[in-house]
Structures are given as C-alpha cells and as structure tokens.
Amino acid sequence: MSIKISETLTFECETGNYHTFCPISCVAWLYQKIEDSFFLVVGTKTCGYFLQNALGVMIFAEPRYAMAELEEGDISAQLNDYEELKRLCVQIKKDRNPSVIIWIGTCTTEIIKMDLEGMAPKLENEIEIPIVVARANGLDYAFTQGEDTVLAAMAHRCPEQKTEIEKKIDDKSIQELFSFLPLKTKEKSNKSFTLKNTFSLVLFGSLPSTVASQLSLELKRQSIHVSGWLPAQRYTDLPILGDKVYVCGVNPFLSRTATTLMRRRKCKLIGAPFPIGPDGTRAWIEKICSVFNIETQGLEEREQQVWESLKNYLNLVRGKSVFFMGDNLLEISLARFLIRCGMIVYEIGIPYMDKRYQAAELTLLQETCKKMCIPMPRIVEKPDNYNQIQRMRELQPDLAITGMAHANPLEARGINTKWSVEFTFAQIHGFTNAKDVLELVTRPLRRNNNLENLGWTNLIKIQKR
C-alpha cells in the first residue's frame, strides 16, 4: 500500500464500514440544553440499550427522555401507532408536563414507514403540547448529525419576524427574549436595537450556555448583537426568524439546519469557518463582521494573546502527527486548528462531508496548510476502519483520534489515542476554550512522558495463529 500525501485537497470515499455512535445519541446533550423539553425516542430495544449503555447515560436521574419501545405488535402493525403514541404522550404530559415533546424517529420507524410527521400535528392538538419530529436515524445520518435533524425540525417552529405594527404588540415577548441580559442593558438594547429595518443575527448549534454567552460576548465586543440562539435554553424562547435575519452556525455538522433556515425560513446564511481554536474563532468573527460591514476591533491582538497563552501546549504538540479515524464531523475544524498548532495531520476520516456548508472551513484548512508548509491531509469520507488501522500501522502516528471501540486495542499496540466523543462533549468553542482542545490532545502525550522509561509500550502478545 502506498501512502501519498498530496498538495491539494482530495476527497476519497471508502466502504463505510466504520464505527460511530447512532445519531439518537444527540438526545443525551440536547435534553440538557433545552430545559423544558422531553425527548421520546421511538425505536427498539437496540436503541434503548444503546442510550443506556454505550453512552454511559444510564437513565438514572429520571431525565427528560425515554424510549417508546416498539414491540412485535407495533412492528407487525397489529396495534394502532397513533393510539399507542397518544397513550405514552398523555402519560409523559401527566408525569413531567414539558413545554415540548420531541419525537426522535429511528431506523425502525423509517423501515416500517411509521408516519410520525403525519401523526404529530393531530396529537399535538389533542393533548395541547407542541410535538416536534426529528428523524435521527442511522440509515441517513451519523452521530452528531442527530442534532442537525432536531434543530432543522425546530427551525420550523421558530416564530416569524413580525412587521412593524405587529411588533409593538409583541414587544413583551421580545423583551423576554433578552431576559438573559441584566435589566439595565435590557432596556437599552431594546431601544438601540430594533428589528424593523436592521438585520439581526441568530446563531445555531447546541452549546453549553456558558460557551454560548462567551461567543455572544466576543461578538458584542465587535458591537454585534446576537438576537437569539437555536436552540435556546428553553423551547419557549426560540429565536425569531425571517428574511431579515442572518444566521450562522457554530458546528460543522449542521448542514441540514442551515439549508432549512435558508430555504424554508428565508434567512441569510453566513458561511464562515467554525469557531474552534483561536484561528477559527477569529475567522468566524471576521466573517460575521464583514457581513454587517463592521471593522473588527482588536481581534488580531485577541487571537495573538490566546496563542501566547497556549505556548506550553504548543511545545508539546509541534511536529507531532495525528490521525483522525472519523466520528463526529468536527474533524476538519479540529484538524485545521491542530495543523495551525504545528501538528501534521495524516488523514481526516469523516462520516459525511458537506462541501458547501463546510466550504469556508475547507478553504481555511488549505490556507493553514500552506502557511504552515505542511502537506494537505487526505480526507476520507465514509472510511473503512479496517483499512484505516492498516494505514495507521504503516504511518505510526503520534496520536489517533478515534471512536471508543478502537481506543484500547490501539493503545495496546503502542498508538496513543484520544476519544473523539470527548471533543463532542467538551467545551471547545471560542477563544477561551482553545486551551481545552489542547488539554485533551496533549493528555496522552503528557501521560507518555510520565511512563516513557518503563518500556511498556506494547501490551499484546505476538499472534501465534
């Protein structure tokens, strides 16, 4: 097998026999993000056991999600889907009384062609709780794209931007929209910031609220006001959308949401690199500013300052090589940041590559490679884990960023690993959190420095058979 590292971006596609998590796993973080929601996963025992086990989110604390477990009678259509779902949703309403129930369709509902979208509006009227339907199935999507399907479905439920007259009546609700701001600035912002003629900015992507406010704050420094987030902390606080609204994503796996916002809600999409790493965050802010015709203030210094604070980490990673097996679709952004840190990326495996939605990020990746005089990494869509492991044997990267299934076996073979899921759950966005990315990346390297002299790198026996 020859391994070439080319100068331009090349995309390959392999067999797709790779391991990643099921997209229904998005429930695990979205239910925490949207505090008044209830997620109902309509699927089989296989789905339920996954949520319970592989993600380690045992359903212990009585969270706001559950399984509607399909049994033999449901599959063979002996039972009435509508009546069954109604029974469960009435129960959920009684027990938890959420502001919204989100039905997560799975592979099984796809295969038996259960008409969730058809049933939802009817049931919604009957039980008087909004029901949002997202098809987070493994037939069409990978891991983090589950969030994409939920946000795309929720985009339809965001209130429409009102005309001037209607706005006055609705003033109170808009005021509530800014309730995260302290009281004084709330009044001020309402005066200085009116929706009628100027354009507003809505950011989409689920981030922990502290990270979301960090990013909002960075934009505020450039006098850009973020008028809302999709999703917001509460379902009842969904952002107002319309043709005078600019939208920008914070996560690379939200292409479907972006399309929905553009096509169905007539929003204007800002295509920017993603705010991961100081370089990405700066590019992201710059792009947004350029759309609003605002000259950035002190952004370069801010970036420089962050790089300065990362110095100790950079010394550890510089010149080291990394291999992404592909899992959460954050791969391109992370690879770009790590290259900028001085690392060499051999391969970027990625479950799915939307070249349009990620265009700005891909360009930045290319520019970064040129700047750092590093060959362009190979990008492998729908990778084949078996082949990747063969390639890794040959390349011997200093670090493999991999799904959980391969971490221990690779470590046993002397290859350092970091779980890709950690990047999904860790706070990695914005200037302040760049440190956390490097903290994760360098952990195995730092561990090795501690264990270096013990001579324990290889922990498997030579195979006899």
């Binding site: 026999n17 990643t20 212990f60 399984m67 592979c107 221990n408």
Partner: protein, 513 residues
C-alpha cells in the same frame, strides 16, 4: 409500545455477539444500520479488551435499503474471510434489520460457497427473546453445528477421557465476574482431581468443539447461558450435566456431591476406584473458606434478623437469597428476578427463604417495592444500587447488567470457596456496621450536608457544660465529631449558648423528628 427508561437485559443480538466474540478466531458480521454496532464499544471499554473486537458491521444505509443488502453482506463476509481467516463467521441482524425480512440464510449460503470459513446465521427472534436467551440459543447453535459437522465427517470421538473430566459451559465475555468465576471453578475441579476438557465459549476454538463429548460431565454454572447446550449434549450424547451453581458454602457442597455422583458412575470401571469428596468439602468449609466461620462470628450476629432485598438475574438472585437466609440468618423480605422466562425455577428455589417474590423487568416496580419495604440493605444490580442511593439504603451489587465496576482488576469471584469470602465481605460491608449502627440510631445519622461554622475548629461562642462534655466523651471517636456538630447546629438554630445533656438529646430528637 412501551414507555421504557431502562432495561435489565439487552436486545438479542448483544447475546449472540457476546457468544461469538468469546470464541477465539470467530468473527461476527452485523447486518445493521450505522451506530448499532455499539457492542464493540461495550466490549472494548468494559472488558478493557486489548484486541479489536471481532465484530464488523455491514452497514445498512438508505442506498443499501433501496437495492437490497445481499451484495454488500456477502461481500463483507468474503472480505473478512480473506482478511482474518476466521474459523467461523456468524451473521446476525439487529432488531432493526430483522424487520427487513431479507433472506439472510440465502446470503449465508452464497457467502459460504466462496469462503474458507464456516458461515452461519444466528437463528434468533429479535422481538421475542432478550440478550440472555439469545446467548443461550446461539451457543447451542454453534455447538450443534460443529458436532453435526464432525458427525458428517466421521470425526466424532465419543470415548471418555482416561481421567475424569468436565466441560464448563457458559463462561463468556461481558458476564458478571465471569473471568474470576472461571478461574475459581478451574481451581475447584483441579482440587477434586478432575481435568478440564473444554471451557466454552470463552477462549475456546470452534474447531475443538467436536471433542466436547469426551468429557465425563458438563458443568453449567449459570442458568442464563449454557443450559440449552447442556440439554442438547445430554439428549444427543447422553452426557450428564450439573447445573447447581457453586455459590455459597451449602450449594458448593451440593454441587461437589453431584460431581462425585457423576464421576463415581465410571471411575470404578475405568480407574478401579471411587472418589470421596466429603473430607475436601469439610476441610474447605470449616477451615479454608472464612465464610462459615464468619457466620458463626460475633460480627455476623449483628446481622441477624436484619431486612434485606435481593434482585438480579435468576442465578445470582436465587443463590444470594439462599446464602443470606441460610448461611447468615439475614431476613430476606423480598427477592426477585428480571429473568421472567425462568420464573418457575426461581420461585421453586427461593420460596422458603423469603417473605415475598417479585418477577418483573420493570425497574420502577422494583424501586417501589424497595421503598415500601425499607430494608437495611439491598443486594441487586446497578439499578438497585441507584435506587438505594436515592433512598439512602446501602446496596451490594450481585448481578448483571454489568458496569465498569464489575470488571475489577483484582480477583473477585462469586463462585467457589474464594467466592464465599468475597460474598461475605460484600454482605458485611453493605450493612451499616455493628456499633456504628447503634450510635447512629441514637444520635441521628451521618449527614453533613450543611456547613455549620466556617471553621472546623471548635472554639466558638458555644459552651459545653461538664456533664455534656462528659457525655460527649463517652461517644466513640468515629461519630463524636458528627454528633458534636449536629448538637451545635441545633443549639445555634435555637439560640442556645450553653449546651447541656438535655440540649444534646433535644438535638437528637430534633434530627430524628
């Protein structure tokens, strides 16, 4: 449809994969959509497995769905055959892909024509059986396949081994302390002078399965997995099996006596002697294992009549119930299992050792039962441990579903004589202990949720008079600080500056009110 928050046993394909990946040089192909292959994560993470889990998912996506999966599945099987040269490839669907009703048997037939490996389709109904039943079924299927194959090739050797020997059936990956139990069983059999013919599926080669009938008997330590195989071997080859779980002093002795009975059928003829294991049982029970002595010791006396609740798989729940009731004198208020399919056996085993029996796979029912009974300790699964946490009742974990904590690096068997020690420790440590218990009862609990003063030092505005000081000094050191803080907290809340003995007991009353 069923509203489900948590389940005790996984879906069927997990059982199949656990059996397949326990054998050496066997590969499993899952016919499944993306993300259904989380078995690999479980095995790699929980067992801290060093080797890649021999399971590959042949991904069903929208594309495959439109065209049919045959090509892809057959292709993946033959590819794996070339890459890894496994002895056997097991194909399994999941709940999801089984609805597609594709003719997987036909795929298997086609793939086996172009593979050197044997290829079989795991024959399991994914909507009717759970993980444990499927594992039992798959193990039987694999054993049957290889014995029939050997029969066709006339390779079957039915003569017994020269020395008494046994097969251990049902040790497999992701089992509850299975690896430790296996080591303990090997030691037990070795002590008895019995050879181990084969252990399946863990670490076994399918190519050796045709030698299973050479053993004198089969030992099935857990009811959940292995019984079907043992029954098949009994029916086809007249092999006797022993399914008494050697857990707890009494049942170990029962199990050994059954072994003795089995080996003494042939040993007078083949070896010209009879085995007598009674001295061994006696020596182990009274002097090697510490459990019998523990039952007699003053420590265990304090456990007499305490209420406990037991819940788990049929094997572990039944055994632990018997140990608590018969060997330690603990009152089992309720015992139960989630193995609904084994209800009859379970009831028969425990009916005289507990007040009530609960058979359910709904964890909320178990939680309600525990809340109602308010036992002093629970012995259950991870779920009961959690229920116990919420109710402030200690819980010892005695059964699957497994958790990373059930894969300790140290040696923690549940079976055999070392297992009795481990269980005694577990039981003893789960209850609040003797003296501590009395004192907690008198002075109201361990709780230190609130900070009473900012400093930990005691020079405050409060004064203790000489009597109360004396009373305080009577209390043993390990709870004294707590009681002092509780009393002072009470005094502050009630604007009392001088602490007398009366105040101490008023504080105690206040806490227990």
């Amino acid at each position: 449809m069923k509203l489900a928050y948590w389940m005790y046993a996984g879906p069927a394909h997990i059982g199949t994969l656990r059996v397949a990946s326990s054998f050496k040089n066997v590969h499993a192909i899952m016919h499944a959509p993306l993300g259904d292959d989380y078995f690999n994560v479980m095995r790699s993470m929980l067992e801290r497995e060093r080797d890649f889990t021999p399971v590959t998912a042949s991904i069903v996506d929208r594309h495959v769905l439109a065209r049919g999966s045959q090509e892809k599945v057959v292709d993946n099987i033959t590819k794996k055959d070339k890459q890894e040269h496994p002895d056997l490839i097991v194909l399994t669907p999941t709940c999801t892909s089984s609805i597609l009703q594709e003719d997987l048997q036909n795929f298997v037939n086609r793939a086996s024509m172009s593979s050197d490996s044997d290829v079989i389709l795991a024959d399991v109904n994914h909507y009717r059986v759970n993980e444990l039943q499927a594992a039992d079924r798959t193990l039987e299927q694999v054993v049957r396949y290889y014995l029939e194959k050997a029969h066709r090739q006339e390779k079957l050797n039915l003569s017994l081994t020269d020395k008494p020997s046994a097969n251990i059936i049902g040790i497999f990956t992701l089992g509850f302390h299975n690896q430790h139990d296996c080591r303990e069983l090997k030691r037990l059999l070795q002590d008895l002078g019995i050879m181990i013919n084969q252990i399946i599926p863990e670490g076994g080669f399918v190519e050796n399965l045709h030698e299973l009938p050479k053993a004198w008997f089969n030992l099935v330590p857990y009811r959940e997995v292995g019984l079907m195989t043992a029954l098949y071997l009994e029916k086809e080859f007249g092999m006797p099996y022993i399914s008494t779980t050697p857990m707890g002093i009494v049942d170990i002795a029962n199990c050994i006596r059954q072994i003795q009975k089995q080996v003494n059928i042939w040993s007078p003829i083949l070896l010209g002697k009879k085995f007598d294991f009674e001295p061994y049982i006696d020596e182990q029970t009274r002097f090697i294992s510490q459990a019998a002595w523990f039952s007699r010791s003053i420590d265990c006396q304090n456990l007499t009549g305490k209420k406990a609740v037991v819940f788990g798989d049929a094997t572990h729940a039944a055994s632990i119930t018997k140990i608590l009731a018969c060997e330690m004198g603990i009152r089992v208020s309720c015992t139960g299992t989630y193995c609904k399919h084994d209800e009859e056996w379970f009831r028969e085993q425990v009916q005289n050792f507990c007040d009530e029996i609960l058979i359910t796979d709904d964890h909320t029912e178990v939680g309600d039962m525990i809340a109602r009974i308010e036992p002093s300790a629970i012995f259950g699964t991870q779920m009961e441990r959690h229920i116990g946490k919420r109710l402030d009742i200690p819980c010892g974990v005695i059964s699957s579903p497994v958790h990373i904590q059930n894969f300790p690096l140290g040696y923690r068997p549940f079976l055999g004589y070392e297992g009795t020690n481990q269980i005694a420790d577990l039981v003893y440590n789960s209850f609040t202990l003797g003296m501590e218990d009395h004192l907690l009862e008198i002075f109201g609990g361990h709780d230190t949720k609130e900070v009473i003063t900012k400093s930990l030092s005691t020079d405050t505005d409060l004064t203790w008079n000489s009597e109360s000081q004396l009373e305080l000094n009577k209390i043993p050191g390990f709870v004294r600080g707590k009681i002092k803080r509780n009393t002072e907290k009470f005094a502050r809340q009630n604007n009392i500056t001088k602490i007398t003995v009366e105040v101490m007991y008023a504080a105690k009353e206040d806490l227990s009110a």
